[in-house]
C-alpha cells in the first residue's frame, strides 16, 4: 500500500467502528508511524479532534511535510523531551491523584483551585521581592524608632514590623544612585500595577476558557436521566468504599429524579430575608466595631502597651467568627427550604455566602479608605491598613485551622461515636472555596500596602493544603450531590474574577488615583496622589521622547477611548450575531437528522 493509501486507511479506521481505532504499530507498518505521529502532533498542536476536516487538512500538511521531514523528527524529539522534563516541575501530582482516587473530581477541584491560587501568590512574591524589596534592603532607609521584638508582633504586625520592608512604611522613594539610576517610586508603582494587570489578564483568560468548555450549547436535556446515566459516573475514583458510596448516591439520585417536588415560594422569601438580614447585621456590627475610635486607634497613642496591641486583634477575631458562624446559619436556613434541583441549592448557597463576605470586605474597605487617611493620630496610614490586612489574614488562618479541628475532626468523632445518626461530615466544597476566595481578595487588597504579604499567603496555602488533605482522609466523606463539577468550577473562577479581583483592583486604583499618601513615610511622600509620579516622570523625560508622546497624546486623550469603545462595541455586536446564526444552524441541523432518519425508515418499508 502506498503511503497515501495507508493514510486513507487511518481515516477509514476512524469512521469504521467495527474494529478499534488503534494507533499502534501492529496494524500500521513502520513508515505509517510518521503519519500517525503527525496526526497526533497536529492534534496536540492545533488542539483539533480526529474529524474529517482535520484529516483533509492533515493530508495537505503531510504532502508538504514530506519535504521537511527530518526537521519534524528532531522537533518531535525535542517536544518529547520537553514533556518529560515538564513532569518534574509539577508539584503534588501524586497527592492530587490520590485525593481524586478516593474522593472524586469535585473534591479534587478544590485542591486544584488552591494550587492555582498558590501560583498567583508565588509569582507575586517573586516579582515584589526582586523589584522592590531587594533594592530597598540594599539601600536601607533611616528608621526612626525601633521597638524590641515581642512575640505578639507575629499576630498583630505592629511594633518591630512597623518600619520593616513588610509594610509600605518601610520603603522610601529615593532614586538609588547606580548605573542606571533606579527610581524606587516608579519601581513600586509599576511592579504593583504590572502584577495586578497580569493577574487580571490571566483570570479573564481562564474564565473565558472555562466558560467556553463548560457552558457552551446548553440546549436540550442536560440534567436528565440520560446524562446522569451515561456521563455522570466519576471514573477517576479507584477506592472501593468511595465507589460503593457513589453507587448508592447514583441510585438515590435516579430515584429522586423520577418524582417532582413543589416550590414553596413563601419559604424561599423568608429564607432570603433572613440571609440578607444576617449579612446586613454583620456588616453594621463590623462597621460600628471598626469605627469605635478608642478601640481602633488606642494603640497608636502608646506603642508599648501590650494590652492596646492585643485589642487591635478584636476586629479580626470578630470578622473571622462571623465568617465561621453565619455560613452555618445559612446552611441551617437552607434546610427548611426544598429545591427541585440540588444544583440550585448549591448556587443559592454560594450567592448568599458571597453576599456576606463581600459586604464585610466592602465595609472594611470603605472604612479604610474614608476614615483612616484623614485621621491625624495614625502616623503612616498605609502601614496601618497593611497591618489591618495582615491581622485579618493571620486570624483567618488560625480560624481555618481551628475550623478543621472542630468542624471536621470533632464533628467526625461526635458523628461516629456519640450521635450515630449525624454520620461522617461531608466535605463542603463551596464553603471551602469561598474561604479561599475571601483570603485571596484580602491578599490582593494588601499588595499595595504591604508588598511582602504574599509570603504569608504562600505559607498559609501550603499549610492549608496539607492540613485539609489529612483532615479529608481522616474525617470526611465526599459530598452527596456532586454533579456538574465543571460548571461549578467555572462559577468559582468567575467569582474570583468578578467581586474579588475587580473589587481589590478598584480599591487599589482608588487609593493610587485620589488619596493623599501620608507625608512622613513610604515611597510617595510629599506627592498629592501617588499617580502624580507618572506626571513627574513624563515631565522629566526629554522632549519628543516616545513614552512621553504616547502618554500625552494617546493615554490622556479622550478621543482614543471613545474610538476604542466604539470598535469594541461593534466587534461584540458582530460576534453576538454570529452566535445567534450558529444557534439557528444547530436547530436546523437537528431537525434535519430527524427528517433524514424518518426518510430512511419510510423508504425501507
Amino acid at each position: 500500500m502506498s503511503a497515501r493509501a495507508r493514510f486513507q486507511a487511518i481515516r477509514s479506521l476512524h469512521m469504521n467502528r467495527v474494529n478499534s481505532v488503534k494507533l499502534s504499530k501492529t496494524i500500521l507498518a513502520a513508515d505509517c508511524r510518521q503519519q500517525v505521529s503527525q496526526v497526533k502532533s497536529e492534534m496536540q498542536f492545533l488542539n483539533t479532534d480526529l474529524s474529517l476536516s482535520s484529516f483533509t487538512f492533515l493530508k495537505v500538511l503531510h504532502d508538504i511535510s514530506g519535504l521537511i521531514s527530518p526537521l519534524f523528527q528532531s522537533f518531535r524529539r525535542f517536544r518529547a523531551s520537553l514533556a518529560s522534563a515538564r513532569q518534574h516541575l509539577i508539584i503534588w501530582q501524586g497527592t492530587l491523584k490520590e485525593i481524586g482516587g478516593r474522593f472524586g473530581t469535585s473534591v479534587l477541584s478544590y485542591f486544584l483551585f488552591l494550587k492555582w491560587l498558590l501560583k498567583f501568590n508565588l509569582f507575586s512574591l517573586i516579582v515584589n521581592f526582586c523589584f522592590i524589596t531587594i533594592p530597598q534592603i540594599v539601600h536601607a532607609p533611616n528608621i526612626s524608632s525601633i521597638t524590641g521584638f515581642r512575640g505578639l508582633e507575629l499576630l498583630t504586625g505592629v511594633g518591630y514590623f512597623n518600619q520593616t520592608v513588610l509594610f509600605y512604611g518601610g520603603y522610601n522613594g529615593e532614586v538609588i544612585v547606580s548605573k542606571p539610576a533606579y527610581n524606587m517610586q516608579l519601581a513600586y508603582f509599576f511592579t504593583v500595577a504590572a502584577y495586578l494587570v497580569l493577574c487580571g489578564v490571566s483570570l479573564i483568560y481562564s474564565m473565558s476558557r472555562s466558560f467556553q468548555k463548560n457552558f457552551v450549547l446548553e440546549t436540550g436535556p442536560v440534567s436528565g436521566g440520560a446524562w446522569r446515566l451515561l456521563c455522570s459516573w466519576d471514573f477517576s475514583v479507584v477506592n472501593a468504599k468511595a465507589i460503593q458510596y457513589n453507587k448508592n448516591n447514583l441510585a438515590i439520585q435516579l430515584k429522586v429524579h423520577t418524582c417532582s417536588c413543589l416550590l414553596h415560594l413563601s419559604l424561599h422569601l423568608l429564607a432570603w430575608l433572613l440571609s440578607l438580614g444576617l449579612a446586613l447585621g454583620s456588616g453594621a456590627g463590623i462597621y460600628f466595631l471598626g469605627t469605635d475610635p478608642e478601640l481602633a486607634f488606642s494603640f497608636n497613642h502608646d506603642p508599648s502597651d501590650l494590652g492596646a496591641e492585643a485589642s487591635t486583634l478584636l476586629l479580626p477575631v470578630v470578622v473571622s467568627l462571623i465568617n465561621l458562624i453565619v455560613p452555618l446559619l445559612y446552611s441551617l436556613i437552607s434546610k427548611i427550604e426544598s429545591y427541585s434541583n440540588p444544583r440550585t441549592k448549591i448556587y443559592i448557597s454560594i450567592v448568599r455566602n458571597v453576599i456576606l463576605k463581600m459586604s464585610i470586605l466592602g465595609i472594611l474597605c470603605f472604612y479604610w479608605l474614608n476614615f483612616v487617611p484623614n485621621n491625624i493620630s495614625v502616623g503612616c496610614w498605609e502601614s496601618f491598613v497593611g497591618q489591618s490586612v495582615y491581622r485579618l489574614l493571620i486570624i483567618d488562618f488560625i480560624f481555618c485551622l481551628l475550623g478543621i479541628f472542630f468542624g471536621e475532626f470533632l464533628r467526625n468523632v461526635i458523628g461516629t461515636m456519640c450521635i450515630q445518626s449525624l454520620g461522617v461530615p461531608e466535605f463542603d466544597i463551596a464553603r471551602n472555596v469561598l474561604d479561599l476566595i475571601y483570603a485571596q481578595t484580602l491578599a490582593w487588597i494588601g499588595i499595595y500596602f504591604s508588598p511582602l504579604l504574599p509570603v504569608m499567603q504562600v505559607l498559609k496555602l501550603f499549610i492549608i493544603f496539607y492540613m485539609k488533605k489529612i483532615s479529608l482522609s481522616m474525617n470526611c466523606q465526599p459530598p452527596k450531590h456532586t454533579g456538574r463539577a465543571a460548571q461549578i468550577q467555572t462559577v468559582f473562577i468567575a467569582l474570583l474574577f468578578f467581586p474579588s479581583f475587580v473589587g481589590a483592583l478598584s480599591m487599589v486604583a482608588f487609593t493610587v488615583w485620589s488619596l493623599k499618601p501620608s507625608g512622613q513615610c513610604g515611597p510617595f511622600q510629599g506627592l498629592d496622589t501617588p499617580f502624580h509620579i507618572i506626571f513627574n516622570w513624563t515631565d522629566s523625560l526629554p522632549e519628543n521622547h516616545w513614552v512621553g508622546w504616547i502618554f500625552e497624546n494617546i493615554l490622556r486623550s479622550e478621543l482614543f477611548y471613545y474610538l476604542i469603545s466604539l470598535i469594541v462595541l461593534v466587534i461584540t455586536y458582530f460576534l453576538w450575531q454570529i452566535t445567534q446564526g450558529r444557534k439557528q444552524l444547530i436547530k436546523t441541523l437537528r431537525e434535519g437528522i430527524v427528517n433524514v432518519s424518518a426518510e430512511i425508515v419510510r423508504t425501507s418499508l
Binding site: S20, R33, D49, L50, L230, S232, A240, L250
Partner: protein
C-alpha cells in the same frame, strides 16, 4: 538518550511515544507493570517483538481497574480478539486512551464501545439496563430500571430509532463537560 535500558530499542520507544500520549519513562514504567502481571509469561526483552498476551483475569486485578464497574468491558474493548487478552501494544493503548492527556473525542469513541455490551455499534435499551445495573449494584427495582432507560433513550436519541448511535452519544457527551475529565 543515555538510558541504558535494554527492554526496547530506541526506534520502538520513539514509536510508542509517537503513537500514545506517554513519555519515555512512563512507557518503561508501564512495561514494568505489565511484566508484574504475569512474570512467567512476559519477557523482559521486547526488542524482537514477542507475541505475548496476558489474559483478562490477570488484568482486571490491577488496583487501578479492580473496583471499576466496567473493567471487563474496558479490557475487552481494547483487545484485538474481543476476549480481553491484551498484548503489550493493546495494554499501552488502553492506558493511553484512559490517561488525562488523551482528548475527549478519543475517550468518547471508546466510551461508546465500552457501553455497547452486545457490540452492534448501537447502545440499545438492554445495553443501558446492563450499564445501570453495574452502576447501582442492583438497588433499583426492574420498573425503575425500565423507566430510567426509557427516559434516557428518549432524551438522547435524535434520529428516532430507539437506540443510541455513536452520533447521538457524542452529541450528548459534547454537552457534558465533566465527562471523563
Amino acid at each position: 538518550m543515555g538510558n541504558k535500558q535494554t527492554i526496547f530499542t530506541d526506534e520502538q520507544l520513539d514509536a510508542y511515544q509517537d503513537c500514545t500520549f506517554f513519555t519515555r519513562k512512563e512507557i518503561l514504567r508501564l512495561h514494568g507493570r505489565y511484566h508484574e502481571l504475569a512474570p512467567h509469561l512476559v519477557p523482559m526483552d521486547y526488542t524482537n517483538d514477542p507475541d505475548v498476551k496476558v489474559p483478562l483475569a490477570l488484568i482486571v486485578n490491577m488496583p487501578e481497574l479492580k473496583e471499576n464497574p466496567f473493567r471487563n468491558r474496558i479490557v475487552e474493548s481494547f483487545s484485538e480478539d474481543g476476549q480481553g487478552n491484551l498484548s503489550f501494544n493493546d495494554f499501552v493503548d488502553m492506558f493511553s486512551v484512559l490517561s488525562e492527556t488523551a482528548p475527549r473525542e478519543l475517550k468518547a469513541i471508546y466510551a461508546f464501545k465500552i457501553y455497547d455490551f452486545n457490540v452492534d455499534n448501537y447502545i440499545c435499551k438492554e445495553d443501558l439496563e446492563k450499564t445501570l445495573n453495574r452502576l447501582t449494584k442492583e438497588e433499583l427495582t426492574p420498573e425503575e430500571v425500565n423507566l430510567v432507560c426509557e427516559k434516557a433513550i428518549e432524551e438522547a436519541d435524535l434520529d428516532g430509532d430507539s437506540k443510541l448511535s455513536f452520533a447521538d452519544f457524542e452529541n450528548m457527551i459534547s454537552r457534558a463537560p465533566d465527562f471523563l475529565r
